[in-house]
């Protein structure tokens, strides 16, 4: 059967160059980078090289990049690490209602410990309001954590402006750039970022590896304790092969960023516009222009996301949905709720995310297969009166 993968925001296949770069570190170069013998030195060199590669993509210094097990750990570390380091100064953290659970649940944990969390609202497009941010800042605010781009609706926040506000007030600014990285130009100095979470498996690298950018001088405690790896700030034997793969993936993404964006934008526009015009009672979620180049998020009224995904899967199309029915939980995606969708519309949402291996032919295939599926499910729906 034809297979069309349109779930690049969930995870990406690896690029061949990335695997090729990793393989020697899965086989002959297996040393522990902490060992002083030749096996260890070989690994150490590879880790240092990957750190340089990643630093370059962010306009950062190499000693500001710390490897983690992924975006989730980076988020946990950034937020808890700053909270505990700064608790002498204050206990107030500002975030948004549409963060990834790695940020939200970490904030909720801190709330249980007595930290005070402000969750900024977003408008119908998913954008925060800078004035609301400004007036949320208090004497005891120690951290602002606002995601760079949203994983569900793709909305890109005004990071530079937030960075300026944070800088003026002397507050540490963290951004979860897991979705933005490799899809948007990011320069930590230009954007005034203190901490940035990134993850390899969203940019055609291996899973289970990520990094936290920590600007020199940022007050943050370690999160995982043990050996002296990562300059004593993140313990655990380095995941050498995956670090190498992540470094390569980052380099490739950086080199081809403009081409990547343009290519995705073209396919995205074609897919989104045609779905909207072919399928009545449909609407786009997220911002019309300030959005990730590969992100399509559409709600189809009267139907539910999981049955849509299953039907798509049966014709080989892989997507995702903000419907609670994919998760067995009661409420649909907190992001779709925050932008003001009704439960019904939120349940009928479909996210298709385009990536580097997506072809025009695949888009055509989706445009052919999707409308009849929506129609079929609507015919079954008690909400639909044709």
């Amino acid at each position: 059967m034809k297979k069309v993968y349109l779930d690049y925001s969930a995870t990406t296949p690896m690029k061949k160059e990335v695997i090729d770069e990793m393989l020697p570190y899965l086989t002959e170069h297996f040393g522990n980078p902490s060992s002083i013998h030749s096996f260890g030195r070989e690994s150490r060199k590879a880790v240092d090289n990957a750190r340089d590669q990643i630093a370059k993509t962010l306009g950062a210094k190499s000693d500001e990049i710390f490897f983690t097990a992924g975006g989730t750990e980076s988020d946990n570390w950034a937020i808890k690490g700053v909270a505990y380091a700064m608790k002498g100064k204050g206990n107030h953290i500002i975030t948004t209602k549409i963060e990834h659970h790695a940020v939200l649940h970490t904030c909720e944990e801190l709330a249980k410990e007595g930290f005070e969390i402000t969750y900024l609202n977003v408008d119908q497009y998913g954008l925060i309001n800078l004035e609301e941010l400004k007036s949320a800042i208090k004497e005891n605010t120690i951290l602002i954590t606002v995601m760079f781009a949203n994983n569900e609706i793709g909305t890109i926040q005004p990071i530079k402006e937030i960075g300026q506000i944070a800088k003026e007030k002397g507050i540490i600014f963290h951004t979860d750039a897991v979705q933005a990285y490799g899809n948007v130009h990011i320069n930590v100095d230009q954007l005034g970022l203190n901490l940035v979470s990134i993850s390899s498996h969203k940019i055609y690298g291996p899973k289970g590896i990520g990094a936290l950018y920590i600007r020199r001088g940022t007050k943050i405690l370690p999160f995982i304790h043990g050996g002296a790896q990562e300059k004593k700030r993140r313990a655990g034997t380095e995941n050498v092969a995956s670090i190498v793969g992540f470094g390569k993936a980052a380099e490739l993404a950086h080199e081809s960023l403009d081409g990547h964006i343009n290519r995705l934008l073209a396919l995205r526009t074609k897919l989104m516009d045609n779905l909207l015009s072919k399928i009545p009672y449909s609407q786009v979620n997220g911002h019309p222009t300030k959005r990730l180049p590969g992100n399509v998020n559409i709600s189809f009224e009267f139907i539910e996301g999981e049955s849509l995904l299953l039907s798509l899967d049966m014709v080989g199309i892989a997507g995702s949905s903000g419907s609670a029915c994919t998760s067995g939980s009661l409420d649909p995606s907190h992001v779709l709720m925050a932008i003001g969708l009704s439960h019904e519309i939120a349940h009928g949402s479909l996210r298709l995310t385009i990536g580097d291996f997506t072809t025009d032919e695949e888009i055509e295939y989706v445009l052919e297969k999707l409308p009849p599926i929506v129609d079929r499910l609507r015919q079954m729906s008690p909400l639909y009166e044709k």
Binding site: E306, L310, A324
Partner: protein, 151 residues
């Protein structure tokens, strides 16, 4: 995730549609929870001679609706009332734990339809004592290994 039977009933649901002059109609769930099931019955001499459904919900909701209608078709109203969600799930070779509540909904939908039938015909069924078709079955909670799709 789903058994072949579930996928079969999801892909080729039996008895989809409406019955024009139905003898009874029952609807349960609400769009907030993401699932609504509506069941139409044609009843002659206490026998369910025809049944149709419409469902807004997940694959499992559609498959359980389909299976439930199959299981009660041709049965007496009494027999239909004894249909349990377990029986529906078993007939589908099982459901994932997070999706068991969809089968509850199917059971409830059948009950709601018969409730409607009882009401308009002034009948009384023991099995329906305490049953309230408009009750909001907050069935999604306390699910152990819930999986949030937030990638």
């Amino acid at each position: 995730m789903y058994t072949e039977k579930v996928m079969d009933h999801f892909t080729n649901p039996r008895n989809v549609g409406e019955i024009e002059n139905a003898d009874a109609v029952g609807q349960v769930g609400n769009a907030k929870c993401g699932d609504i099931m509506k069941i139409y019955l044609k009843i002659e001499n206490d026998i369910i001679v025809d049944v149709k459904f419409k469902t807004f919900g997940c694959g499992s909701a559609i498959a359980t609706s389909s299976m439930a209608t199959e299981l009660i078709k041709g049965k007496s109203v009494k027999e239909a009332l004894s249909l349990t969600n377990k029986a529906v799930a078993e007939a589908l070779d099982g459901l994932p734990p997070v999706k068991m509540h969809c089968s509850v909904l199917a059971e409830q939908a059948v009950k709601a339809a018969i409730y409607d039938y009882a009401k308009s015909n002034n009948l009384h069924f023991e099995e329906l004592e305490g049953f309230d078709p408009d009750e909001d079955h907050d069935h999604h909670h306390d699910i152990e290994d819930e999986v949030e799709n937030c990638n």
